[in-house]
């Protein structure tokens, strides 16, 4: 006999990571798609096997790890932080000191990945725990400004330590994605060169993609599991009503410190991976804009949910590429063809000097916005739109679609 849907007969089944069969199957299918992507065998998604797109998808994984960290701090524990980029920077430079090679005036110990990667997370967590007592004293908007200050102070610290960061505008090289047991000549697993794995020929981009995919899956499992533990529930109780939580015996300061440390650890790992992924970073990279990107991921995806955080990472990181492609398409339509579509495209895109339009494919800034600026503008407008019209983000849209079809054909 079929049981009533969503009937839980035990606490453990209700608290399961994937409580329903639909969710289990959906997660499996999604995972399968992600694993098969680089081989280009999935109909309709073949273009994603392109190295360019694999890089973008790797970046999605990277930012998802950091965003999951911010999800713990802001989504679960409810603390507004604009300082996430600072901890990303701490992680990146810890990895650089431990794993990087000695460069022109920069330090580097050249230790293997199994040391620099965990170390980046641990050091960032320690710094987060160090800063937390100050941050715990203030709440709400004051905390937002303090963490904003953290980003600016951090940027200055990074600029002032040229032997670690390579100095302003110059930057330094970071360790590579290579797995060594110790400092042997040939790495045991090399993610940065093309070659066969278990008899399958893979590009370096595909290897990096798989590596980061593995990390993001681990991060998702940790973040998802955290919500089911005592600590996670303590975070959420502080978010919902801090005094009530305290009355119920949740130690506010201790748990906030823990939230800061955990979120910083995720940020630190992202930093270390980002350094290895990009290869060279300038200290100015860990700016307020990076923090804003993480917050945007949370808000666009849907704050307080792991699924939303993942959706947000995809959306925010893929958006610039889509905009660039779309602008290119519009420009070519406007230039080549005539007719209705070309007229519309011509209205939006300016392809020549003196041609009015919102986006310009010309270098420089006039007459229209250049593509980078248009990206930024669209990004800001999207954020505003989501905040006003869909505060729960992409996840909220999904919930509404789901609820509509659940009760279909009845309206409610």
């Amino acid at each position: 006999m079929r049981t009533r849907p969503r009937l839980y007969v035990s606490y453990s089944s209700e608290m399961a990571l994937l409580p329903t069969w639909t969710q289990k199957i959906a997660a499996l299918v999604f995972l399968g798609i992600l694993v098969l992507l680089p081989f280009g065998v999935i109909p309709g998604l073949g273009f994603l096997a392109d190295n360019d797109w694999l890089k973008i998808l790797s970046r999605v994984s990277l930012f998802a790890i950091g965003a999951l960290g911010l999800h713990i701090l802001s989504g679960l524990a409810g603390q507004v932080s604009l300082g996430h980029a600072f901890f990303v920077g701490i992680g990146a430079y810890t990895a650089a000191i431990l794993g990087g090679e000695v460069g022109k005036g920069t330090w580097g110990l050249g230790l293997p990945m199994w040391i620099w990667l965990p170390a980046a997370g641990i050091v960032a967590a320690l710094i987060g725990a160090l800063i937390a007592p100050t941050a715990v004293r203030v709440r709400g908007i004051y905390l937002a400004i303090v963490t904003l200050g953290l980003v600016f102070i951090g940027e200055w610290i990074f600029r002032s330590l040229p032997f670690i960061t390579g100095g302003a505008q110059a930057g330094r090289k970071f360790p590579r994605f290579e797995f060594r047991f110790w400092k042997e000549e040939v790495p045991a697993v090399d993610f940065t060169s093309d070659g066969p794995w278990f008899g399958v020929q893979l590009t370096s981009e595909a290897k990096t993609y798989f590596l980061l995919l593995a990390f993001v899956i681990i991060a998702v499992i940790i973040a998802k599991n955290l919500q089911r533990t005592r600590v996670g529930r303590a975070f959420m109780s502080i978010r919902d009503r801090d005094i009530a939580a305290e009355v119920m015996g949740v130690a506010e300061a201790k748990n906030k410190l823990l939230a800061f440390a955990l979120s910083s650890a995720f940020a630190g790992l992202t930093g270390a991976l980002l350094g290895a992924f990009v290869g060279r970073l300038v200290p100015e990279g860990f700016s307020l804009f990076m923090s804003i990107q993480f917050i945007a991921i949370l808000l666009i995806g849907g704050i307080g949910t792991v699924t939303g955080t993942l959706l947000g990472s995809m959306f925010v990181i893929v958006l610039p590429r889509v905009v660039a492609d779309l602008t290119g398409l519009l420009a070519s339509t406007a230039e080549s063809g005539s007719g209705f579509f070309a007229a519309i495209a011509g209205f939006f895109v300016s392809t020549a000097e003196g041609d009015p339009g919102i986006v310009s494919t010309l270098p420089g800034t006039s007459p229209g916005l250049n593509i980078a600026q248009f990206n930024l503008l669209l990004y800001g407008l999207l954020l505003i739109g989501f905040l006003i019209f869909e505060p729960l983000g992409l996840y909220g849209i999904w919930i509404r679609i789901r609820n509509y079809w659940k009760s279909w054909p009845f309206t409610y």
Binding site: Y142, I145, W156, R159, S160, V247, I295, Y379, I384
Partner: protein, 329 residues
């Protein structure tokens, strides 16, 4: 402060007096700009409980309007050629302030009003998103090269006692004082009282027939206008030798420590905080440089406001003049 006095005492002589006087005068002028920015931020915060992270973008937008009106189309000076050039420029600047205030009105209506009562995180983020949008548009309007504002003072300086003061700095301080008096008078006016009532208790104010929406709009308009004034002065010599550029907007982020130092909901605090931050930054720029301070690296003066803020917050978590939040279950 003690550090500065120590250095001051050690160096001795006329040179040290001159240095101290110059650092102080430029600190006061800088503080005046921060006070203008902080005043607008606090007004908006008090009335709407929204901290406006887009303040810097509004400041840059106002400075761009001033540059455009004064140097490109000479509005409204072209219709008043009988006036001296200084008066013409002041008129242009005033019109720029008014236009920016109108932009503030529009922003409030479109983006802030729907967010009343939303969680803090969303409200903070929407002003940051506004900052991105306005800054992008402003950057595009400014173009690749910085725009000079065409102000009548240029790089002229006068000697006041031992200090060499730029004329524009005097103008900055004078305008700030006028704005402060204006705000103080405004708070005694009909709408000012309404705004104070709304800030104190919104529901009670509405029960008395005060339109809260109109107060919100008014606060944003005044705040944006003050931001524009600050933006204009921060684009003049000696703050910026090149005029308004795409870095002007970032300048205003240093007014955030000012309002935290003063306390977010205190108008007095905003002004005091502004001057503290300005002086701290100026002294840091004057004294914490040179070979013995080289370990501080570049741009230490720029982070000085944040460091002062952290110290103040450790002692007083609600700023010097802010009201302590009473937490109720």
């Amino acid at each position: 402060m003690t550090l500065d006095l120590l250095v001051f005492a050690q160096a001795g002589g006329q040179e040290a007096v001159d240095k101290f006087a110059n650092a102080t005068s430029s600190g006061i002028a800088l503080g005046a700009i921060y006070a203008l920015l902080a005043l607008g931020l606090v007004l908006i915060y008090k009335a709407t409980q929204v901290l406006n992270f887009a303040h810097g973008a509004l400041a840059a937008l106002g400075a761009f309007f001033a540059a455009y009106l004064a140097t490109v189309i000479n509005f409204p000076g072209r219709y008043a050629t009988f006036l001296p050039t200084t008066a013409q420029w002041i008129l242009s600047a005033l019109v720029a302030v008014l236009i920016t205030a109108a932009v503030g009105l529009v922003l409030e209506r479109l983006a802030i009003r729907p967010m009343i009562g939303e969680p803090l995180f969303s409200v903070v983020m929407i002003t940051i998103a506004l900052d991105i949008v306005i800054r992008t548009i402003t950057d595009d309007l400014i173009g690749t090269n910085p725009r000079p504002l065409g102000d009548p003072w240029g790089a002229d300086v006068v000697n006041i006692g031992p200090a060499i003061v730029a004329k524009s700095e005097i103008a900055t301080v004078v305008v700030t004082i006028i704005c402060l008096i204006g705000i103080a008078l405004f708070f005694r006016s009909r709408y000012g009282v309404a705004m104070r009532a709304t800030a104190f208790d919104q529901e009670a104010a509405m029960a008395q027939g005060i339109s809260a929406g109109r107060i919100f709009a008014l606060a944003w308009a005044i705040g944006a206008g003050l931001a524009a004034a600050a933006g204009i002065f921060s684009s003049l010599f000696p703050r910026s030798s090149i005029g308004v550029s795409n870095t002007t907007a970032f300048f205003a982020f240093r007014a955030l420590p000012a309002i935290v130092i003063g306390g977010l909901d205190s108008v007095t605090g905003a002004v005091v905080g502004g001057f503290i931050v300005g002086l701290a930054e100026s002294y840091a720029g004057a004294y914490l440089v040179g070979p013995s301070w080289s370990f501080l690296g570049l741009g230490f003066a720029g982070v000085m406001p944040y460091l002062v803020m952290l110290v103040v917050l450790l002692v007083r978590p609600y700023g010097l003049f802010g009201t302590e939040e009473i937490r109720r279950v």
